[in-house]
């Protein structure tokens, strides 16, 4: 009797759950379609760090992106560029990769936005979930929150400009909150050793001079290691 009741409950709930997923994805679908023609881009980026433990001058670099997930950053000088939230990747939010849930739909000052929670179906890059704020009028993502399993949080606030018919970031402010980090090699025996305090701060990236669909080859994005000669 119990089993029958359980089966009935599942039979009723499962389509509802699937529907909820489908319903939430309808906010991402227009974005996917909007950027379907974006195969690659390059842009100049200026980076400003505002982190206590990251004393760096403003940096300039060139970023290369190729659909679906190839990224390369080049600079004449040494450069640190944030992996999560630092660049725009429209192919990041595939329905097959996430369980998508609608958190909130807002309408404020004539702007319609929704907040979605994306939970990866498979463990990848230590990613626990993404919280996206979507401007449903322009089909852009003005805010993205990345939450990782170890408690790291990154929140990107993105401003857009139109370049070659595509809305692409002109400015990204990335707030970083790292509660702990790898301290491999530091002896626990050490009486002086104090658990490192968390790291937080922000990184601002200003994009300009977009060049779109230049047709970069995949081998151009072969991982280059930081070191050696320029």
């Amino acid at each position: 009797m119990k089993n029958i009741f359980l089966c009935l409950t599942l039979a009723i709930l499962l389509p509802l759950l699937c529907e909820a997923q489908e319903d939430a994805f309808r906010y991402l679908e227009p974005i996917e379609k909007k950027y379907a023609g974006l195969k690659d881009y390059t842009a100049d980026v200026k980076i400003h760090f505002d982190m206590e433990t990251f004393k760096a001058p403003d940096m300039e670099a060139k970023i290369y992106y190729k659909f679906p997930d190839k990224v390369k950053v080049e600079s004449k000088r040494v450069i640190f560029f944030p992996k999560e939230g630092g660049h725009f990747n429209p192919a990041l939010f595939k329905e097959k990769d996430y369980e998508i849930k609608l958190l909130k739909a807002l309408s404020d000052a004539g702007k319609n936005t929704v907040r979605l929670r994306l939970t990866p179906k498979t463990m990848k890059r230590n990613l626990k979930r993404l919280i996206l704020t979507i401007d449903t009028d322009r089909n852009i993502i003005p805010e993205m929150e990345v939450i990782q399993f170890d408690g790291r949080k990154m929140k990107a606030s993105i401003e857009y400009m139109t370049s070659n018919g595509f809305d692409l970031p002109s400015h990204i402010k990335l707030n970083i909150d790292i509660p702990s980090y790898d301290t491999e090699g530091v002896s626990e025996f050490d009486q002086w050793f104090k658990k490192p305090k968390g790291v937080n701060g922000s990184i601002e990236m200003t994009y300009s001079n977009y060049v779109i669909n230049s047709g970069y080859r995949f081998d151009f994005f072969k991982r280059s290691r930081p070191s050696r000669k320029r």
Partner: protein
């Protein structure tokens, strides 16, 4: 001045003086060649805390990083090389039996000891300058220039020193290194005035340096409390502070003064001992 020139000529006429230069050349060349061959591994290890969160590109492993890396071993091998000569300045006269001839000449004992001390300091400076020139010249050839990334091991803490600023900072840190190493020369020189052979001052100086370095690095609260009073702490602090962001000038000034006081006290003690030296027996 004439005495100083004579002492300098005497010092640089001995073949043992050049052992230090040869050793430094060997250390620097070997280190830089090995770093050239295994550079990726070193950079990856250094930047591991950041590689998860950042794309890192550019010439991280450049001459300035290599120079700073090699300079970190300054407080271990350079003192030994300095003692080889500074510890021999006065004691070699006793060993060779020339001290009586030296002291019956017209120049006063104070002038003689001052000339010898200045020679020891001059040798120290030349050795560190040789070390600096070799590090930088070979490093520039092998690795090229770039921004200096200063990273505190095991911490999510990094500071960039722009390429335009690094040469001046490296130059200042080598000047600071000369000042720091002059204390080792002073200790060796003091021991040299007390001994009749050169082995004692060399071993004695190294023992003092090593004991203080070891005590200063022991991870125990008791030694942590004492560490600010060790001359070795100021020796290391002094040059390393020029590679911090921002430069802690008050730490540099304090360390420079502490080391200066050490130098004066050690030299005055050496002078006192030398003046009282009995050459009749």
């Amino acid at each position: 001045m004439k005495l100083f020139l004579l002492e300098t000529f005497k010092t640089f006429s001995r073949w043992r003086t050049y052992i230090s230069f040869a050793v430094i050349a060997l250390i620097v060349i070997l280190t830089e060649v090995v770093m050239k061959l295994s550079g990726d591994e070193i950079v990856n290890r250094m930047l591991k805390p950041f590689q998860r969160d950042f794309f890192i590109s550019g010439n991280v492993l450049n001459v300035w990083l290599i120079t700073a890396f090699i300079m970190n071993s300054l407080h271990i091998h350079i003192p030994f090389l300095i003692t080889l000569v500074a510890g021999d300045m006065v004691s070699s006269e006793a060993t060779a039996g020339t001290i009586r001839f030296l002291l019956i000449r017209p120049p006063s004992r104070i002038r003689i000891i001052t000339a010898k001390y200045l020679t020891a300091l001059f040798y120290t400076a030349i050795l560190v300058i040789f070390f600096a020139v070799l590090c930088v010249c070979l490093g520039l050839t092998l690795f090229g220039s770039g921004d200096l990334i200063v990273h505190h091991y095991g911490q999510f803490d990094v500071a960039f020193i722009p390429e335009s600023e690094v040469p001046v900072r490296i130059f200042l840190s080598f000047i600071a290194a000369i000042w720091a190493m002059s204390v080792v020369a002073s200790i060796a020189f003091l021991f040299s005035t007390l001994a009749e052979n050169s082995i004692g001052p060399i071993i004695g100086t190294m023992a003092v340096v090593i004991v203080f370095l070891v005590l200063g690095s022991l991870p125990l609260d008791f030694f942590r409390m004492l560490k600010p009073y060790f001359f070795t702490t100021h020796m290391i602090n002094l040059w390393q502070q020029f590679l911090e962001v921002p430069i802690q000038w008050h730490v540099i000034v304090r360390s420079a003064i502490v080391l200066g006081i050490h130098n004066i006290c050690l030299f005055l003690t050496a002078m006192f001992m030398f003046k009282r030296k009995d050459i009749k027996s």
